[in-house]
C-alpha cells in the first residue's frame, strides 16, 4: 500500500482526525464570528481562540505525560483532566 511506510494505526489516526477537526472548526467559528474573540484572561495573558486551543492541546499533552509518568496506564484520568482543562481555558483564560 502507498501509505504503509507511515505505519498508520487507528488510535493515531483518530488523534490526527481530532486535530484536523479542531483546526477546521476554528476556521468555521472564525467565519461566523470573526476577530478571534480576543480578551485578557485570568492569567493576565491576551489570548484569542487560537491561543486558547494551542494552550489546551499543549497542556493536555503534558497532563497525559504526567499521568503516565506518575499514575501509569490506563490514561482515562488524564483524559478527564484534559477535558476539564479545555473547558477552563476556553471559559476563563
Amino acid at each position: 500500500m502507498l501509505l504503509s511506510w507511515m505505519a498508520w494505526t487507528w488510535p493515531t489516526a483518530v488523534f490526527f482526525l481530532f486535530i484536523v477537526t479542531a483546526i477546521t472548526s476554528m476556521g468555521v467559528w472564525e467565519h461566523y464570528s470573526p476577530g478571534g474573540g480576543p480578551r485578557r484572561g485570568v492569567l493576565g495573558l491576551d489570548t484569542t481562540r487560537g491561543d486558547r486551543l494551542f494552550i489546551s492541546v499543549l497542556g493536555s499533552a503534558f497532563i497525559h505525560l504526567a499521568w503516565l509518568g506518575f499514575m501509569g496506564t490506563p490514561l482515562w484520568g488524564g483524559l478527564i483532566l484534559s477535558i476539564i482543562l479545555f473547558v477552563v481555558v476556553f471559559k476563563w483564560v
Binding site: M6, A7, T9, T12, F15, D46, L58, L65, L68
Partner: protein, 288 residues
Amino acid sequence: MIDKTTNQKAWFLVAPVVVLVAFNALIPLMTVVNYSVQETFGDNIFFWEGVKWFEQVLHSERFHDSLLRQLSFTSIILLIEVPLGVAVALSMPKKGPWVSVCLVLMALPLLIPWNVVGAMWNIFALPDIGLLGRMINGIGFDYNFTQQPTAAWFTVILMDVWHWTSLVTLLAYAGLCSIPDAYYQAARIDGASSWSVFRYIQLPKMKRVLTIAILLRFMDSFMIYTEPFVLTGGGPGNSTTFLSIDLVKIALGQFDLGPAAAMSLIYFLIILLLSWVFYTLMMRNEEQ
C-alpha cells in the same frame, strides 16, 4: 471606517508553502507519532505497543540525565551569549568604514558549516598539538577534553559561544541602528548617564530583536547535535551526551525506533512549551 475589499484568493499563493511544510514537517511528524506506539523489526512489520515506550522514556534514568545536561547547556550558553552579544553590539561603530569590517568579521563564524566548526575546535583544543589545548596546558592547567568531563564541557560551551554570539550581536546591532538620533539628543539634553541611555532607550528598543535572538538561540542550542558530536562524540563517558545525541544513539545506534520516536515527541513537546513560555513572557513585558 475604510471599506476593504476582501479577496480570499490570495490564500492560494500560500499553497506552495503548505505543500512544502506538509512534506518536510507534517508527514514525517505524523509518521513519528505512528512509530511511537508500535514496535518494528524492519520490513514494514509493526506491532501495537500502546503507550509503553512513552512510559519507558519517562522513567528512564538515561533520559533524565541527558535532559538535565541539555537544560544546563542551554541555560549556560544563553546566560553567556545574550549579554556578551549585546555588549559587542554596543561597542561596534555606528558609522564609518569600520562598520562593514566589523559586520563581516561578526558574520564569519555563522558562515562555517557546523561539522567544520566541530572539527576545527577538535584540532584547536587537542592537548598535545592544538593551539588552545597546548596553551592551556602550557600555563599550568591540566586540560584534556577527551578525558575530563569539565574540560569537555568548557570546550563545548566555548565553541558554541564562538560560533553563535555573532548572531545575537548582529540582531542586537540591527536593533541599535534602528533607534533614531532624536532619542540620544533628548537623553543628552536631560544629562542622562550612559547606563540610563542603555536601560531606558537602547534596551527597550532592542527588546523585539532580542526576543527573536533568545528564541533562536534557545531552540538551536536545545537541538544541538553536529558540533558536540564531532568535537566530543558525547563523551568522555556520557558527559556531553545531549538530548539529540542520545536520541540518535537510540534510533540509529540501537535501532529502537519505537522508543526513539516516543523520546523525540517528548523532546518536541518540551521545546514547544519552553518556546511558548519564553515568547509569552517577553511579549507580556513589552506591553507593560
